[in-house]
Symmetry: C2
């Protein structure tokens, strides 16, 4: 039986080698795969960051989140342990969360101002630097599967709107009626966001962004990063976007460099949080660049970006990341982030809140 | 009268201080404006990179391009010289090119597979790291103006499709009939691309991407980067996308970090070329990150990214960039790039081809 660690207070931890990986300053070898130990594989997932407080959570809800996070991380872990590809692990871990109404991705996605679910996703492979992304799809059951099809079966990286749906159909992906994504909770969030907006619009049009309840229901994303046994880093992210969003708003989840980035020369990153700040900060690529050009560790780079640079801009959220030695980071500046990780020894880490318990 | 230099063979040149700007390794001060000399302002523009060969160009066409490039760069220069904002300079320089049928942006944009013009643009300010981007608009006369409205008048960074059009109308921007963007040349490019595709699809679905004629007509973008007298770096990019594109393809022009990036701590960059590779390489942010974390000069970073990293991935294209000392780069790995620059002394540089003349 596997040893299971339930660590809630640890934000950043190491799996495998603890030594910070130093890379050449301004190295050219962007996607070169460093020497790896095939035993050093690992997986990290997140189910969104936000004002997640224990006092607002019932024991039943907490158990439900933990169980689903464990199911999702084990799904990817089993694929990696069997020598499967990082892409399969990322896609299938994320699909477990897309299919759960607990997370703002796939089923359970939040509603736009028009009462629709518009889904975004992206995926990137660290060896080839190939990537796929979709924005604003409304009838594709698994947006992360579509992002992978874009990467593997088109000469393009990103498709948006109806065009992305057409491509999904051509690729034979499962198409669902938009009602598949409906959940009562998310619908209520939209109603509450609209009411709040009506009340507050007079003095501050952006007020709802600063209301913890609305902000939590506005944001949220799922993501997965892995190091597979071949030494490849892969990252993926999937989201329902932002409650009450308008004007075809695109967040960071489908933006390569912001919501998702993977490069065998540095790390794989998936973001969650207030997407606008993640786009402006090019957060996922910034962490990789600080490692690669600045020669600092994944842990240091993640802390600097999430605890210093992001709040300096006024943004909040978190990231999960893994580097080519299997070091991982789960860094956030919000009250909580749904997260889980497993290392090559099969040790499981699960977390929701920031504070220790 | 201003001294005018017509330099065609110079790819990278310096304005103002020649000393490479060293920055602290892994500095946290992402957007801190370094000490600047108000005399050290400057502007660089591009009108697209591609297989631009002198043998394919008539003297009349060459003169037409040079005249329009000079008009565009002088437009921004006059704003900067008068102490105007970098945002105004970038927006208005780009608008000169958007309104010209010579460039693949605004009027003269290429056609999608469905025979439509779908326009993308983005803009970013290096002091605030604020940014705005739009993808797939079909009736907004100036996409760069819309990107600026998104940045300044919304809490978001990126809008796509119909939602972006709605926002444009709400903002009172000039709306035109989609036929405004029509030019006969671009329509012929679409027809030729479709014929070529039909012929070549049997042996290689991507063949048209490797045909110089089609590739040139497929890609192309306009962009502008400036350093204003307050020491602020601003970058903007506008494009008609890709001839014969399908599935709501989004290129790099509206992607912050890929097509456009500005940060007072490093540089402002606008990209042009095969967009998919610019997204995967997060090209604009990569140049800034190599400067900031790797401590190399703008020239070195631009060369490494465009002459080494981009071709290694299989991509081509170019960038224009300017740093906080007024050093500029106009780097491309294609046969040519339409480009122009002016420094604080009013010296003008114009270029089309790579080879000296």
């Amino acid at each position: 039986m596997r040893k299971i660690l339930m660590v809630f207070g640890v934000i950043t931890l190491f799996i495998g080698c603890n030594a910070p990986q130093k890379s050449e300053k301004a190295s050219n070898e962007v996607s070169k795969t460093p020497e790896t130990n095939p035993e050093n594989f690992g997986i990290v997932i997140h189910g969104g960051a936000g004002t997640i407080l224990r006092k607002n959570m019932t024991p039943e809800m907490e158990e439900a989140y933990k169980a689903k996070l464990e199911e999702a991380v084990r799904k990817g872990y089993e694929i990696l342990a069997a020598g499967g590809s990082g892409l399969d692990a990322v896609e299938q871990s994320i699909q477990v969360m897309e299919e759960s109404p607990l997370f703002n991705a796939g089923k359970g996605a939040v509603f736009t101002n028009e009462g629709k679910n518009e889904l975004d996703a992206s995926i990137m492979h660290g060896k080839t630097l190939n990537a796929g992304a979709v924005a604003g799809v409304t009838s594709v059951k698994s947006p992360i599967a579509l992002a992978r099809k874009v990467m593997e079966n088109s000469e393009h990286v990103m498709f948006a709107g109806e065009g992305a749906e057409t491509f999904a159909k051509e690729q034979g992906l499962e198409i669902v009626d938009p009602s598949y994504f409906y959940t009562e909770n998310r619908w209520k969030s939209l109603e509450r966001a609209k009411e709040r907006e009506e009340v507050e619009l007079d003095h501050d049009g952006q007020a709802s962004l600063y209301d913890p309840f609305i902000k939590d229901s506005k944001f949220g994303t799922v993501g997965c990063v892995v190091l597979d046994k071949e030494g490849n880093l892969v990252a993926g992210t999937s989201t329902g976007g932002m409650t009450n969003k308008r004007w075809g708003r695109v967040g960071d989840a489908p933006i390569i460099g912001a919501g998702t980035y993977a490069n065998n020369a540095s790390c794989a990153v998936s973001s969650t949080g207030w997407g606008e700040f993640f786009i402006r900060g090019v957060i996922a690529h910034d962490i990789a660049a600080m490692m690669q050009y600045g020669g600092i560790s994944l842990q240091e780079a993640s802390q600097k970006v999430i605890q210093e640079k992001l709040p300096e801009m006024g943004g909040d959220g978190g990231i999960i990341a893994i580097d080519h030695n299997g070091n991982i980071a789960m860094e956030f500046n919000t009250a909580g982030m749904y997260r889980a990780a497993m290392n090559s020894k099969g040790e499981l880490t699960l977390g929701i809140y920031k504070e220790s318990e």
